[in-house]
Symmetry: C2
Subunit: 158 residues, 2 copies
């Protein structure tokens, strides 16, 4: 490999690390306001239900890597908090479906909206060419990195 490319790669890695810190700041700021309403593990459930729609208890437990019995009581708390609702499954009477309540959906939306707003606020300061550079760079990186699996992002609860 050419020496120039190696150098470039080093600079790109450092730049990516710096940007990753900046993006973490964005994510953290968007998450902070709801952290007194939900815990991070609870937010994970909101993420799952937002992405996949209503699911069986066991299904969610599995996605979170949690014990079913643990999750049952975990769900109790979220139901008590008004974030999710249990309902009977139309298919089988032994299945219990959980879904977001309006409040739960609102909490999730609050975070994603805040994230979009935060990013927008940052990009607002940029000129046209800089904007274009950011868009291009991020798109290339995202394509190369690929979408993280649901399991992966859930590690952090986001």
């Amino acid at each position: 490999m050419a020496a120039r490319t190696v150098q470039l790669r080093g600079a790109a890695i450092e730049g990516t690390l710096t940007a990753s810190r900046a993006l973490l700041g964005v994510i953290a700021r968007s998450l902070a306001p709801v952290m007194d309403t939900v815990t991070l593990p609870q937010f994970r459930v909101l993420v799952v239900l937002s992405n996949f729609g209503p699911l069986r208890m066991g299904e969610v437990a599995q996605r979170l890597g949690a014990n079913q019995s643990s999750f049952s009581r975990f769900a109790d708390r979220m139901v008590a908090g008004g974030l999710i609702a249990r309902s009977a499954s139309p298919g089988s009477r032994r299945e219990v479906i959980i879904s977001l309540t309006e409040d739960g959906a609102r909490v999730y939306a609050e975070v994603t909206d805040a994230r979009r707003r935060e990013i927008s606020r940052v990009l607002e300061t940029l000129s046209g060419p800089d904007l274009e550079a950011v868009r291009t760079g991020f798109e290339i990186f995202a394509r190369a990195a690929g979408e993280p699996s649901a399991d992966e992002t859930l590690i952090l609860g986001i």
Copy 2:
């Protein structure tokens, strides 16, 4: 503002959101292996001590936004886990300094190294011009976003 710039901004926001998800995947993957050794709150302490060096108990408690008395027992657990060590302050006998043990430093390094490796692995797949585009875009974004405050990134424990 020109219509073209508005459009550009929208595309840049979406690109940034996608990249932020990709980066979250990177971060989550790098964090996962140590999550059976330390909890996320405990990892926050490792981050603080790595960034600032040995600190007084109260200093760390404050940075984490924790009650001093809570933090005392929290520290007990981390000492028991061999991640940090208490030591007498040279300046004052009522102060207690905590610092990373070798194990604690290793856990932190494991995560940051993994992060660097992950990013490097992604960038490896890119051609010279793409690399350059990524570096430029990320640098511009990072400069515009600014370094997140320590408090902010600690929300997520990172």
